[in-house]
Amino acid sequence: MSDLFAFNGAEGAGYAQPEPISDEFAIPDKLRRSTLPRWPRASEPEIVRHYTWLSTRSHGIDSGFYPLGSCTMKHNPRVNERIVQMPGMNDLHALAPASHLQGMMAIFHEMQEMLAHCAGMDTVTLQPVAGAQGEFTAMRCIQEYHREIGQANRDKVIVPDSAHGTNPASAAMCGYEIIEIPSLENGRLDLDALRAVVGDDTAAMMITNPSTLGIFEPEIAEAAEIVHEAGGQMYYDGANFNAILGKTNPGMMGFDAVHYNLHKTFSQPHGGGGPGAGPIGVKAHLSDYLPAPLVVAEEDEEGEVWFDWYDPPKSIGKVQQWHGNSGATVRAWAFYRRYGRDLEKMSEHAVLNANYLRHRIMNPSKEVRDAIHAMPVDGAPTDVVKHEFTLSMTPVKDATGVTGKDVAKRLLDYGYMAPTLYFPMIVPECLMLEPTETESKEAIDQFADDFLNILTEDPEIVKTAPHDTPVKRVDEVWAARNLVLRHPMDD
């Protein structure tokens, strides 16, 4: 065990810096700090070893299969990391004049265009720094649009019960009231339920397609028509965009606004929770409301291109203080360039891998089948899924008492990250699996075999899993009850 606060070197002996160029500065008496923070006193060797040790207690995609549904945990091409560490990126100032940022703005411009094209939108801003912030930003644009056209009364946002939690949370932050509509038995969007709630107080409907169940909503265009007829806007949660590039796009489906999770579709290293990037694209009628600034390209007489900042005339202002997660934009640019028009192949393989994994799990050999206590069932019945799928572990629970969570924990023992657990909430004992396109057939086969094997194991072993992880099952209730949120410094 390595404890940062046990590093206990002599005062001032750690990491050295050059001397201040002057000590002729003053701090007002009242504001002079009396005691320094109790940070560790360590030398570089200790710190390097500490964080190396910590890293060995974490699991990333680089460590193994990471089928965390809805998160699109794909491989991160390493050159992208090299690029963001290059001079001219990490050492740029956001407020430098445009003449200092032409290379970066060229990349921004290309990304705006590419993202708009892929989603069938007219205008894209790169400012939002996460999917949730993209949702919030787009809803703010819709809100201002409605205010501008005299429909400030539209104060309700419709979301299916299968929606990701950020959808209602983002809309609520704008001040909207949330109307949740139930899904059909088969997990699909219920058009009747939608019809029942739309009206002239409908600001928008927020929905993702393929849905969080991994299935394509065949009646999406009809839904859009219903909402549009009522005067509402259609918002596309782009978290599942990885499934459809080149096959369809939100514009065709009738959406007015969309966010992209660059950290899903365009492979950002998720870094233990972020950073991400959540650009949004909108149709022309919403373009003037986008956060400022966008990048525009101007060509002079000699054909030289100059990039400039542009503030949309009715802009909602800013949602992040600078230009969003520029570094994420540059990584995503490098990723996109690696695929180019083969982004379509990317989606094909994401869908191929998901269907193949589903097939392998749902069709065990007779021998394996006979050994299994109970088989999971489809979260939503369907012939093909898109990039992910859900399994309900209810039959397993009924037969053995082994919950979805138990299976998830047991998978950790096999060296896997667990699938997404208990989301979407409408599937009981839900496991949600998304292999992504960067897993090999062998890796998928192996996972399927191991998954099925768990269903044959002694339920006691599964219920008490994990056994071979850095720590055993963690007591989350204890944490919430005791709230030890920092080192007490008293030992």
């Binding site: 002057s22 940070w39 998720h270 379509e344 944490a479």
Partner: protein
């Protein structure tokens, strides 16, 4: 052809296993009328070599703050980040993990974030920190909505917050976007001639939900008056203070003078200005705000063997559980950059932090002295004590000087304050961090003298 797909060329085999013939069979569920017919109008895939070459070419046209003397700060600061930070943070186990939903295989990042919380807590003088916000502006904005949720029931001035007039407009814009949904009224707190908060006016904030001020403020001024605020506004109004965290090596932690919530740009710890992102926002608070705070929090716990273990906690505040009643919509955050910040802080240690603050203060003081010595240059706040940056008044618009310095001297001279406040056309915000040396300062002074000369 793209080279990132392990199953390229093996599609037939996999499809056959499923009883399918072609990739199209996987997309039969997309109805005709929403099916794309034309392929994506995008260029051919490129190789790693080609992308790297093009990136080098494009980024090479940028003018970075490291490539020349740069006095541009205004909220993003250049500083030296130890090599260790990038080398360790890019280890795959950190880099390619997602939110630690499974604590048993995420102890590393969880412990690192718990340590981050501890170091931030120590730095700002408050007991609780989360594991990062998007940036300082969303941190400030969500601090205000958080304070309203906590205090509104008892507040005399319902849904009202007071914000310093010196908050930079970009940050102010974020605050407005984030608070308008809850119909929060924002009242502005004026400053005196010396750039100090007008404490008489601030008294009006009593009974509101929150007051938001910055230390140092946007003009680099340290304001001792802020120490009086908490006693003026009382227990039921949250004092929210925005900080430049490096300054806290010399300056009192706001917790010591009554801050209930401290926010700020964590960026100087762990990462360069990086064109403004990804960076990370700090968010720390006192006990009373815990259940209303936004963002992820790591707590200590134990495993089924009773061993020490860490886990995300208080998640019932969050969107994935509480949905539209969540304390915030934040889901993906900036953990990786916060991790880099934690590594940087851990390496600095207490005296390293103090030294870093002294280096920044020393560079600022030296720059100030050098510019003051120039005939024709005035301090905007001659009585002020500055950290990192200060405003000077020029005989002509600062944009002229900036262009001159840029084009004639290859110096990035600072920030034209009229971009924030049009009336400050002749004012320039000059920032000096630890990365500025005596030679840089001499070059700047020289350049300004040349400009003054040239425009005579």
């Amino acid at each position: 052809m793209v080279d990132q797909l392990p199953n390229l060329g093996r599609e037939a085999e996999m499809l056959a296993a499923m009883g399918m013939d072609s990739i199209d069979d996987l997309f039969t569920d997309i109805p005709e009328h929403v099916r794309r017919v034309d392929p994506l109008d995008l260029p051919s895939p490129q190789t790693e070599e080609e992308i790297l070459r093009e990136a080098r070419m494009l980024l090479g046209t940028n003018v970075s703050v490291d490539s020349r003397p740069s006095f541009l700060g205004a909220g993003l600061y250049s500083n030296y980040v130890p090599t260790m930070v990038a080398m360790l943070a890019t280890r795959g186990e950190f880099l390619t993990a997602y939110t630690p939903y499974q604590p048993e295989v995420s102890q590393g990042i969880l412990q690192a974030m718990w340590e981050f919380q501890t170091m931030v807590s120590e730095l700002v003088g408050l007991p609780v920190s989360n594991v990062s916000m998007y940036d300082a502006s969303t941190a400030a904005a969500e601090a205000l909505t958080c304070a309203v949720r906590v205090h509104d029931r008892k507040a005399a001035q319902k849904s009202t917050v007071y914000v310093s007039e010196l908050v930079p407009p970009h940050r102010m814009s974020v605050i407005e976007n984030y608070t308008q949904g809850a119909e929060i009224a924002i009242k502005i707190l004026p400053h005196d001639e010396d750039g100090m908060l007008d404490l008489t006016a601030a008294a009006a904030a009593e009974g509101a939900c929150a007051v938001y001020v910055e230390q140092p403020n946007a003009l680099g001024l340290l304001d001792p008056g802020l120490c009086e605020l908490k006693s003026m506004i009382g227990e039921n109004t949250a004092l929210v203070v925005g900080v430049q965290p490096v300054s806290l090596g010399l300056v009192s932690p706001p917790g010591d003078y009554g801050a209930d919530i401290v926010v700020g740009e964590g960026q100087p710890f762990g990462i360069g200005p990086t064109a403004g992102g990804p960076i990370y926002g700090l968010f720390a608070c006192s006990q009373a705000y815990i259940r209303q705070m936004p963002g992820r929090i790591v707590g200590l716990s134990r495993d089924s063997d009773g061993e020490r273990a860490f886990t995300l906690t208080l998640s019932t505040r969050e969107q994935h559980i509480r949905r539209h009643r969540a304390t915030s919509n934040i889901c993906s955050n900036e953990t990786l950059i916060a991790l880099m910040g934690a590594m940087h802080m851990a390496l600095l240690g207490p005296e390293g932090l103090e030294k870093l603050a002294q280096r920044n203060a020393g560079a600022c003081a030296t720059t100030k002295a050098a510019l003051l010595a120039i005939d024709g240059i005035e301090m905007v706040h001659p009585n002020g004590v500055h950290f990192n940056e200060f405003a000077i008044r020029l005989p002509r618009p600062s944009v002229d000087l900036l262009t001159f310095l840029d084009e004639e001297c290859e110096i990035t001279g600072g920030f034209d304050l009229s971009q924030w406040w049009p009336e400050r056309e002749n004012e320039l915000l000059v920032c000096a961090t630890d990365q500025i040396d005596a030679e840089d300062i001499e070059e700047l002074a020289e350049g300004i003298r040349d400009w003054l000369e040239a425009s005579k």
